[in-house]
Amino acid sequence: MRLVGLYLALFVFWLLMSGHYEALILGFGIVSCAAAVYIARRKDIVDDETLSWYLKPKLPFYWLWLLGQILKANVDVAKRCVLPGSRIDPCVFLAPADQETSVGVVTYANSITLTPGTVSMQTWDHEIRVHALTRDGARDVLGDEMGARICRVEGEQ
């Protein structure tokens, strides 16, 4: 069932990419999508974990919020890159990650890395080692607003 879904998604993706609708080219598309699904099945990577994560209704709102954070952090780090006499004060620390599933922790670590000014260095089940460019960046991560939002996304059905 999931394989059929994957096949349809891949084929729609293929159609969008190619923009050709002749029989021969469409045939190539059908065959290549089938090959991709076969490889995915052999590698056993079609599971429920990620799929149910991307179907959570609150996720798009989280992404919008994250986009805002990324823009704010971008302006700050870009200023520190360019302006003469601007100072950086890097530090490394361990931040708690309270997410229950591994997908949640991965989302949190990726969000930290995606925000300029903080990079996740190592991850464990409930802890992430973070490198921050400034103390303010470290404070933002430790304030745990981002982590709490991911927990809220994770918590819904």
Binding site: M17, L94, Q122, W124, E127, R129
Partner: protein, 98 residues
């Protein structure tokens, strides 16, 4: 005109990352510069497509983004394990940072 302005910024960024790739000093600096250079190249190809009025270039940009990612990961895996066929199990998995 506006694409030319964007192109100028992108080319400047390419030159700067290339300088960092040449300066090093560690191999990780070079890989980081290479990865960023790849990202900027993707943007450059996309802008170039618009500059020359040939949006088909976007397919190349998409492909380049994929190859750039796979290439970076492959270099890092080789550096860390010395073997591209390694299982990828990290040696410090499971233990905490404290």
């Amino acid at each position: 005109m506006m694409f030319a302005a964007a192109m100028a910024g992108v080319l400047a960024a390419m030159a700067l990352t290339l300088v960092r790739a040449l300066l090093g000093p560690t191999v990780f600096d070079r890989v980081l510069a290479l990865n960023t250079f790849g990202t900027v190249t993707v943007l450059a190809i996309a802008v170039l497509g618009f500059l020359m009025g040939r949006p088909q270039f976007l397919d190349i940009a998409l492909l380049y983004a994929l190859i750039n990612f796979v290439g970076t990961i492959a270099i890092l895996k080789y550096l860390q394990y010395g073997d591209l066929g390694a299982s990828g199990e990290s040696p410090d998995a499971g233990e905490s940072g404290r």
